[in-house]
Symmetry: C2
Subunit: 472 residues, 2 copies
Amino acid sequence: MVIIIGISMMVPAAVDLYYGNPDWKIFAQASITTIGLGGMACLACRSDIGPRVTARQGYVLTVVSWIAVSVTGALPLWYSSLDISFCDAVFETVSGLTTTGSTILSGLDQLPPGLLLWRSIMQWLGGIGIIVTALALLPMMRVGGMQLFQMESSDRSEKLSPRMRDMCLQIVLIYSSLTFVCLVLYRVFGMNWFDAINYAMTTLSTGGYATSDLSFAKFDSSLSLHWIAILFMFAGGLPFTAYAVVLRKRNIQAVIGNQQIKLFCLIIAGFTVLLTIRLTQISDDSLFRSLTMAAFNLVSVITTTGFASGDYLLWGPAAVMLFFFATFIGGCSGSTSGGFKMFRLYVVFTGLRAHFMRLRSPSAVVVSRIDRHEITSDIYNAVTVYVFLLTVSYIAVTIALGMTGLDLITSMSAAATSLANVGPGLGNIIGPAGNFQSLPDSAKWILDIAMVLGRLEFETLLVLLMPSFWRD
Amino acid sequence: MVIIIGISMMVPAAVDLYYGNPDWKIFAQASITTIGLGGMACLACRSDIGPRVTARQGYVLTVVSWIAVSVTGALPLWYSSLDISFCDAVFETVSGLTTTGSTILSGLDQLPPGLLLWRSIMQWLGGIGIIVTALALLPMMRVGGMQLFQMESSDRSEKLSPRMRDMCLQIVLIYSSLTFVCLVLYRVFGMNWFDAINYAMTTLSTGGYATSDLSFAKFDSSLSLHWIAILFMFAGGLPFTAYAVVLRKRNIQAVIGNQQIKLFCLIIAGFTVLLTIRLTQISDDSLFRSLTMAAFNLVSVITTTGFASGDYLLWGPAAVMLFFFATFIGGCSGSTSGGFKMFRLYVVFTGLRAHFMRLRSPSAVVVSRIDRHEITSDIYNAVTVYVFLLTVSYIAVTIALGMTGLDLITSMSAAATSLANVGPGLGNIIGPAGNFQSLPDSAKWILDIAMVLGRLEFETLLVLLMPSFWRD
Ligand SMILES: [K+]
Ligand SMILES: [K+]
């Protein structure tokens, strides 16, 4: 049954993507509708099979569908008028679907509009796919402490399907509405329609593909556009389940009381202040412009969007390091952003507090909670495993990139930016002003794997490498 | 009572160090005897007060004595004929006592021998001090999962003192004997007496101070000297309690069966093979010479010794990254080495295994053990806290160094090398062929704190910053 669903997911996507290739207009229209339908079908199927699929089938299905979608998604790019290699086409597609947003294309301003739209659509679909995966699949597989959210979405009832399907539909609606609002605001404040549509899709999905080599610096003169982007990147980094709860209960409490969101705001505010101080030291810009630039670039990195506006590599070594470490942080779980995520950070904080409390009175029993859910030792364990897998993956990817001949900073930041699905790295080659085109093909394949690895929270993919997983 | 001990520890050290300063010969002799006596007194006192001291007193005492010893140890350097600043003198002393081995001195070959000897002695004493701290103090304070070793040394009996004092004396004897054997071997295979004495002390303590700007490359032609160094650096990275058990039971089983040691050998062997392959690719040297260089530099970094022989920055980006990450690993607990340490790595591995076993059968109860001691959730928690504090400290130190104006690679590797007490960093400034002299004073003070932080396994120092620690 699982295989049937897998095939039914891939066939329309493959066929229709292939279908549209000779003519750009047709290609773009066909893609929108078919991938849209495929995505919907996939959502519906996933929530249907949710309770019946075994853990092993779930892992295999997830990984196989990632590979299938990536390859089929790459076909139009490969056959296009662009004359790029298959490796580059796959890289661009994986980067799009994982909402990483690293690009190998340059001269974006001169590309056919259909192609640019296709890139944005991939990110937009990738974004919604990720939210649904985080909602339906990962908690069931108990990946990286995500079982915390299993209770939340199922409300302790056994019948998962109908509630889950409702929730998914709600979230698709919310995601679409937010994109539409963002689009309208972008248009009103000065973008043309084409840019507004593209940027709205890549903002909400925290993807970060742009329609210009300048990325967001194209709108350098309009600070209001920057603030719209900040707002909607931030919105893309929040848990979409919280929006759904707000809508259902008609009560803003679910957002204000959410501990992930609180922590997220706190971190963004703190870092923005630091960066603003730094910017006012080194430039003659007004305070408001400095604040805008600091907030924009920080929110862009921390929500793993990866829009660039102004080359933050010129802000001095301390700022560069702050951006490097911020790359790993990520937004809230259940959002479109990648990275370590707020709830894990919160779990670690509570663990730390519990530890220090036990240091003072060793017999004390400390129960930590996040949004009323008790954090059990199971969850601590899972978060520790996540940290370990992240560390090992990071080291392995960095060294592998080094073996392809890249320098230290490029390797280290490329590994970070791909595993956390941010997009731009550091250094001259892949920095916010650079491009992944010049990397060797082997490095691009490594980064493909890294991007998917980060998206699937490591465990889902790495568990397939364990011999014991295949034993009965 | 604690205060009295603290003062009695500091007074002889301070007085006698000051006493010897005008005359180098006298200074050197006085230092050896008084610091030797002070060290012994300190050992005896520590094991005496062990059971009676409260956790809070323990923390404060540890940190205060570190500050006191660092400042008094710096006096002879400051007043010496070298004309170095107080900041530099303190840096050199802290680097010595923590067995980090980063130096601000250049032209080592021309320095007065008394001074070189004093640097080596500081490292040697630092080394034994660290073993004793790890044996007596840290397990009691439950720092970073070290409570694992509390059971081992106390054998579940309440009366800690006599056994502990015996153990400490045994370990001092073992440490001295190994140093002596190392000294004799160095002399036999071609070093002069002075070099042999100095290098023996800085090898066993995994300190890494040299008597020449070339570090170990001075003996480039003698591969046998390299292998002696490899052997004794490795010996310094093993748990000294295991030696004591071997001696007591006259049975090598304690070393062969020890899971920390197994893992340590495995990691060293694996990485050495990789590096040897790499070296044979890039150079025309014989296989044996490549193997020697690979093993020497790897063991030097992984045991946190930091001797340099051949500039491994020239071995290509992948090798450089391997060295960067190896910086953090460290040796076994209860050794003179710094870093993350084998037992924590082992604890994380068992956690990973348990996690994946629960993924397949969620109801399974998995009990993990290390050397027959059960790894409780307390210990997992403590190791997680250690990882978190290490990460936060690393990020904070890196960004702080960046704010002093250092470049990215220097900041990142200086933070790593100081927190793990390795010694040399990466890049042109502080690489194996470089020197810490040119760093700004503010960076040196930051590194002082980082070195002590790493030595005290973070928690001991950071707990003093928590307001709740000072409340009743
Ligand atoms: K992105
Ligand atoms: K060292």
